[in-house]
Amino acid sequence: MNPFFQYMHDNSGHLLSLTWGHLIMVISGLGLALIVGIPLGVICARNARLATIILTLANVIQVIPTLALLALLMMFLGLGFKTIVVGLFFYSLLPIIRNTFVGLKEVDSAISEAGKGLGMSYWQLLMKVQLPLSLPFLMAGFRVAAVIAIGVATLAPLFGGDGLGREIYSGLNLRNNLKIYAGAIPAAVLALLADILLGRLQEKLKNGPVRSKPIRTL
């Protein structure tokens, strides 16, 4: 058998647990970013001045090199899981905020007016009309964020975290290419899978609940 598959097979338990740890970090970071990012995107769509401030701040965070951001976070949060998750959260914020914002802005004002005409409150309009219509945009941002997060999470071991990066660094140190592949390939596969699955979801959202209105893509 190919030595790579042999290695993967012999260490499957270990590699699976690393993959699982990787996923947990990514999902937690992305989840936090969704919880915080979507409301921020909504605020941006409502208030142009706040939009400039929020988007600039998110941009600034995005510009900080990953290692520096994680090192800074470590000062406050200590080693391990929390630091990585918060780092992933910060990195995922910008695409989510921006795409929620753009998605809401793209909603045809005639539709919003119609909703208002039907007597919908702002909140109803937002939840029942505007957000569902902008979902494909939001999903596009989420997709970008997910792929970035899976990559960034490979740096976790440098700050006491776990995940597939553990195998990559171990391979780097021991100059064992098999180990590097065994960490890097599953990470790449995760990123590809996330991209494909979220891409499908995005298509579905585009064609599904809001078929009545053609939606321009970014």
């Binding site: 947990i24 999902i27 937690s28 989840g31 936090l32 969704l34 919880i35 290692l67 090192a71 470590m74 000062m75 200590g78 080693l79 391990g80 899981f81 929390k82 998750v85 957000l131 569902p132 979902l135 071991p157 440098l158 700050f159 006491g160 553990r166 660094y169 171990s170 780097l172 140190n173 021991l174 100059r175 064992n176």
Partner: protein, 300 residues
């Protein structure tokens, strides 16, 4: 949508709670954590201490491997995520506290011991007995071709040479690249920062011409490289010592004696050969550490 966000919240809370639980137990229940940088040397030493401490005391040891760099290790000690590590005396030039400029080995050690005690409340033990400093290193053929034996010899050719270094060195203030160019009065043509474990292969494969090696790294021997003498003495001494939080020592005073068992016991040649076993012969740091301790009668 609602269900999805609910699921995410539940998952999140779940993982946060789990992680909080797993982080708690460390320092409370007789366990200390030893942090290591990314290369093999501190990992081997951490394995030695794990074996020694667990044989001689009731304390359990956890190893937190692959931390990005020494400032991260120190930060992690400050925040009590780890309690112990191997550090090098040249570390004092990393802007942790005011230091006097000197290259004297004993003076630098003294400043490290006093400075870290006063500033961070760490105990900096006497050195293991080896230094792991930086050395400019080239392929043997290149050294022969250009008659290189000291760093100053590089001056004439530096503009045409490619330099490979670890990622932090270019930015280090006192003993980093900028200070170096002023001190030796020359610059290299191109610079490539990379993970330290990659520099040896890079120079052997002709990808770069000069690399800044760690002197106890077996890559020097493995790839038949030649180190150049730091003739003007730019690099500060980098004697390795075990370092531990005073607070931890107070809690487990028995650690004092255990930690001292390796002080003065490992010279540069020994450390290089232990690193060689791990990096080149691909043995695990644990196995190499235990074998060393057993052959020296330190472990039953």
């Amino acid at each position: 949508m609602k269900r999805m966000s609910l699921a995410i919240i539940v998952l999140l809370l779940g993982t946060l709670v789990l992680s909080a639980c797993s982080n708690e137990g460390n320092s409370a229940s007789g366990t200390i954590s030893i942090g290591t940088q990314t290369y093999s040397e501190p990992k081997i030493l951490a394995e030695m201490y794990k074996a020694l401490i667990e044989q001689n005391t009731e304390v359990n040891v956890k190893i937190v491997a692959d931390l990005a760099a020494s400032p991260i290790v120190i930060q992690a000690m400050k925040s009590n995520d780890i309690q112990m590590a191997t550090l090098y005396t040249g570390e004092i030039f990393n802007n942790h506290f005011e230091v006097e400029a000197t290259k004297d080995r004993n003076e630098v050690l003294k400043q490290a011991q006093e400075g870290f005690d006063k500033t961070f409340d760490f105990k900096w033990f006497d050195p293991y007995g080896f230094e792991n400093t930086y050395a400019f290193t080239v392929r043997k053929e290149l050294a022969d071709q250009y008659y290189l034996s000291t760093v100053s010899d590089l001056k004439e050719y530096a503009k045409t040479l490619k330099l490979g270094v670890d990622t932090t060195w270019l930015e280090r203030d006192n003993d980093g690249y900028r200070a170096f160019t002023k001190f030796y009065d020359f610059e290299f043509g191109e610079k490539f920062p990379m993970e330290i474990s990659l520099v040896y292969q890079a120079v052997a494969d002709n990808k770069v011409d000069v690399v800044l090696a760690y002197t106890t790294d077996p890559g020097i021997k493995e790839f038949n490289l030649q180190t150049l003498t730091d003739d003007k003495q730019f690099f500060p001494p980098y004697d390795a010592s075990p370092v531990i939080k005073n607070e931890t020592l107070k809690k487990y005073p028995e650690l004092n004696e255990v930690i001292n068992t390796l002080v003065g016991k490992i010279d540069a040649e020994t450390m290089t050969s232990l690193n060689y076993e791990v990096d080149v012969n691909k043995r695990s740091p644990h196995e190499v550490a235990v074998q060393f301790l057993k052959s020296n009668g330190l472990l039953k």
